[in-house]
């Protein structure tokens, strides 16, 4: 029989409750002894480690099925409980069943007509809307439990109270009476099958009385293996410990019942048995203390094995561990392509790809085998057609082995340049967190990646580690290469723009190269272009007399495709009320015509990561991902080459303001302070006008904050006016490479208001923030306004307020990440198998429809123009321009 004939498909799964008979039938031994092993370490008969429960020691044959360790599936035993106990998992359901049925005759508390009506409805639901069955059952139960008199036998019904986890009280006139589990069980037994159906259960597989246990299954020993410590002491599993407790109490209860002990003692033991059974199922049941190990550690019982992050589901089923993977620290490499990943040679020698030998690769593969596991392009294993593996670590004469291999053998060869691998950085929040890269085997011990792929991974190099996976089949590699390759992921479904692109020095470099005044000699230009891998002709120089000089724009133009037209406002644009476009004196309007950079500087808006409607975006959309990758790989190197040749740094001088500017800043702040105290005066005189929806105090706060914020902004503006054009921090802020004008203002002019929870700092002592101030002081200084700039120094009070504001930021990030992580988990669980079909409907796994057209418009945001299906304006512009010229 072939493997495929053996495969059966699952049509449906039905969950039920084990009946006592079933438990006994599947049991191989009735367990009566609480002990496990005798003095010689032999399992005791009818004990918790009875041999019949399955072998766990290697070499032994199972007493039940005769199999050895790997084959024996383990076998259940059982414990006959001296008295029934409620199954804690069904306690709520038992309560519902009890309160909607008659304690006397056991019928559901509904009139004949109602029963008929609901039976009919239930049948209809079963056929048409099986998903709604439970809701109907809920309705039935709610309805029935309202009845205070049995419509069948006329008996008055007592009010039932349920106390978590497993206790039920009945309110009689004489007082409340506790219901014993055996009473509960006999009441449940009286419920008819048809009434059971009405309450949403299938009596064939879930009779209500089965929810009160009379027999407890004992799981096979393989489920709760005992471990032998080095000292030879045996240590039992938590479940075994719990079962020991259950058996002990059970035996004592049995003895007491047999001896005719007083009811009180029996009831105590009975309750204890209930406690042990409850904690055996779930040791975190609310309302009862958790059962503890001798050391005081709470026991890990059945529910704890399944629940939560370390539980069976999340840890073992959704979180499987894999082979053919590697993890190490990442570091940057601006030389390799964005499609590549640098793999340390040591890793490359450990990760393998199975390659089937054929006439065409025979010679190469033989060389790999000769090299063996320790020399790089080598191989670790040979797999013969019969499945035997030959380990290449041990044989002395690998040459002989290499000569012996034949077509059809499989060789597990080392990773080599060009192999497709998957590269991943956690947290994997979007699809660009796992991308396919081509291997570049490199020396040293870190994974190397191109800087332009930092944004999608959100990676930096302060010690980040990343994972690498090697797909093992041709199909997997082909699929990864076509769908997941980095260049296919440049356009993000998040922005409708490129998520990869220039960052930091790429942008500074591009700006410095392309700005007005960058003139390069033949030697300089050749040098730069060589680094970018440009092999074509040098264009005619912009200036030929007295010396040949090329502009940076000329060099940057060499990497645009011919016929490429685009124009946009750059990041350095001052956002003048009316843009002069091509005539912009700041060179802030970028014009690319026929692949030539005519006007404007290249900066963040043109090549930046995450910039929609940028030059990069247009390039990739119009010329494809190959062109996009090629542009990033080559042109970006030119920008780096230029910044390398110039150097870019900031120093203390860049934060220095001329005396005049300092005076002006000081004046602005002093004016603001005066205004603040004026506001406070008005407030104290009771003349402040209340803003709509605010209290007087809030009004004052808002006005003060406004005033101080304005002052800080003004100070920043003054500062940036006085900064020299050569200021590199300013350059970086303007081009969007790094930092903002606000950061700069903080450094040179004034740090400004510190806040906690969006308000000025109010906490601390009674009516004041620090003992340095008078109680009730509402002034700027007393509530976290930092007058100084970072360069000047913060005084101790300012420093303290600054630390308060800073701490809030840190706490916020920590809280936000955990919250968004939880949300992400739930969203992924809810949406993981939703997909878009070829008819553009969005459907679940069962073919049910979720959306009739994906996103209502059927547009793939990654292939869209900033969210829109087409960018009409750009098309018109292109057509008009093309026609006009």
């Amino acid at each position: 029989m072939s493997f495929y004939e053996l495969i059966k498909s699952i049509k449906s799964i039905k969950f039920g409750v084990l009946s006592p008979e079933e438990i006994r039938k599947m049991s191989v031994v009735n367990i009566v002894t609480a002990d496990t092993y005798d003095e010689d370490g032999i399992p005791i008969e009818a004990g918790l480690m009875d041999r019949r429960l399955g072998t766990i020691e290697p070499g032994q044959k199972c007493q039940t099925c005769g199999n050895r360790v790997g084959q024996c599936p383990g076998h259940f035993g059982h414990i006959e409980l001296a008295r029934p106990v409620v199954h804690p998992g069904f306690a709520k359901l038992v309560y519902n069943l009890l309160k909607s049925t008659c304690w006397n005759c056991g019928r559901i508390l509904l009139t004949k007509e109602e029963v008929e009506k609901y039976t009919l409805l239930m049948e209809k639901y079963q056929k048409k809307w099986p998903q709604l069955r439970l809701r109907l059952a809920e309705r039935v139960i709610r309805r029935a439990s309202k009845n205070t008199e049995c419509p069948h036998c006329g008996e008055a019904q007592y009010k039932l109270k349920f106390e978590k986890p497993t206790t039920y009280y009945e309110e009689h006139k004489e007082g409340t009476v506790k219901l014993a589990p055996n009473e509960i069980r006999s009441r449940l037994e009286r419920i008819t099958d048809s009434d059971v159906k009405l309450m949403g259960l299938d009596p064939r597989i879930a009779r209500p009385e089965w929810m009160v246990l009379t027999v407890l299954p004992v799981p096979p020993s393989a489920v709760r293996p005992s471990i032998t410590l080095e000292s030879g002491i045996r240590s039992e599993d938590d479940l075994t410990h719990k079962l020991v407790d259950i058996i002990r109490i059970n035996e004592r209860l049995k003895d007491n019942v047999d001896a005719g002990a007083p009811q009180l003692i029996i009831e105590d033991l009975w309750e204890l048995l209930q406690y042990h059974v409850t904690t055996y199922f779930d040791n975190e049941t609310s309302g009862i203390p958790p059962a503890r190990h001798r050391s005081g550690r709470p026991l890990r019982t059945l529910a704890q094995r399944l629940k939560g992050k370390e539980g069976r589901f999340r840890s073992n089923l959704s979180g499987k561990r894999v082979d053919f993977s590697a993890r190490t620290v990442i570091s940057p490499d601006p030389i390799i392509s964005i499609n590549e990943v640098g793999v340390p040679i040591d890793v490359a020698k450990l990760l393998t790809i199975p390659e089937r030998i054929n006439p065409y690769n025979m010679d190469q593969v033989k060389r790999l085998i000769e090299n063996g596991p320790d020399v790089h392009p080598g191989a670790n294993y040979i797999i013969r057609p019969d499945g035997r593996r030959i380990d290449l670590r041990f044989p002395k004469d690998r040459k002989a082995i290499a000569d012996a291999v034949e077509i059809g053998y499989i060789v597990e060869r080392h990773l080599k340049d060009g192999d497709i691998v998957l590269f991943n950085r956690q947290p994997s929040l979007h699809r660009m967190s796992i991308m396919a890269h081509k291997v570049r085997v490199l020396p040293y011990k870190t994974f190397r990646l191109n800087l332009c792929v930092c944004p999608p991974y959100n990676a930096d190099f302060d010690g980040d580690e990343m994972n690498l996976h090697v797909p093992q089949s041709e199909e997997a590699r082909a699929e990864a290469g076509v769908l997941m390759l980095v260049q296919e992921q440049i356009l993000s479904p998040r922005y409708g723009g490129p998520i990869m692109g220039g960052i930091q020095d790429y942008i500074s470099g591009a700006y410095m190269l392309t700005r007005k005044g960058t003139m390069l000699t033949r030697e300089e230009a050749s040098q730069l272009l060589a680094r970018a891998g440009y092999t074509g002709e040098l264009p005619p120089p912009e200036i030929s007399e007295p010396k040949e000089l090329w502009t940076g724009k000329q060099l940057a133009s060499l990497f645009f495709p011919k016929g490429f037209n685009y124009s946009l406002k750059s990041n350095v644009c001052l956002k003048c009320p009316t843009c002069k476009k091509e005539e912009c004196e700041n060179d802030a309007y970028v014009v690319i015509r026929d692949g030539k950079l005519i006007k404007g500087v290249i900066d963040k808006k043109s090549i930046g990561a995450g910039q929609p409607e940028s030059v990069l975006h247009r390039l990739i959309k119009d010329y494809g991902t190959d062109a996009g990758r090629d542009y990033i790989d080559r042109a970006f190197k030119l920008f780096l080459a230029y910044i390398d040749s110039r150097g870019l740094t900031i120093g203390l001088d860049d934060e220095e303001l001329p005396a005049e500017a300092k005076r002006k800043v000081l004046e602005v702040i002093r004016q603001a302070e005066a205004k603040v105290s004026e506001l406070i005066d008005i407030y104290n005189q009771g003349l402040l006008e209340r803003l709509a929806g605010r209290t007087l105090e809030e009004t004052l706060e808002t006005k003060i904050m406004q005033e101080l914020e304005e002052a800080r902004e003004l100070a920043g503006e003054i500062a940036s006016q006085y900064l020299k054009e050569s200021n590199t921090a300013l350059l970086m802020a303007r081009t969007g490479a790094r930092g903002s004008l606000m950061n700069l203002a903080h450094m040179v002019a004034c740090v400004g208001q510190q806040s906690v929870r969006g308000e000025r700092i109010m906490r601390g002592y009674m009516n004041r923030t620090l003992p340095h101030f008078k109680p009730g002081d509402l002034g700027a200084e007393a509530h976290g306004f930092v007058y100084s700039s970072y360069k000047d120094k913060l005084n101790p009070i300012e420093f303290f307020f600054h630390a308060m504001g800073g701490r809030e930021g840190l706490v916020d990030t920590a809280v936000r990440t955990s919250q968004s992580g939880y949300m992400q988990r739930r969203l992924i669980n809810a949406l993981q198998d939703v997909r878009v079909e070829y008819d553009l409907t969005v459907r679940g796994t069962d073919g049910s429809i979720i959306q009739f057209r994906y996103g209502e418009d059927g547009v793939d945001p990654a292939k869209s123009d900033h969210g829109k299906a087409v960018n009409v304006e750009k098309i018109i512009e292109r057509v008009v321009k093309a026609g006009g010229s």
């Binding site: 639901y125 048409k128 809307w129 709604l132 809701r135 008819d839 409907t841 069962d846 073919g847 049910s848 429809i849 979720i850 959306q851 009739f852 057209r853 996103g855 209502e856 418009d857 059927g858 547009v859 969210g867």
Partner: protein, 79 residues
Amino acid sequence: MGKFDLLKHELVPQFRIMTKEEIEQLRKNLGVRKEDLPWMLKSDPVSKAIGAKPGDVVEIIRKSPVAGKSVAYRYVVPG
């Protein structure tokens, strides 16, 4: 307050109970059972307003910021 017609509110899209033939056509086009369409309760205010009963299919035409106009369908279930 006077009588409020929720169907006239500007945020409530157009609802219409479909005919048997239309439902059949829709089922064919999508290749689904009625039960595979998204559901809508009989007790939904709109169901009450337009008098939809379990088993009906309701056509909803909405204004959409991305698609201009979008059409959706709901299968009415009891509850």
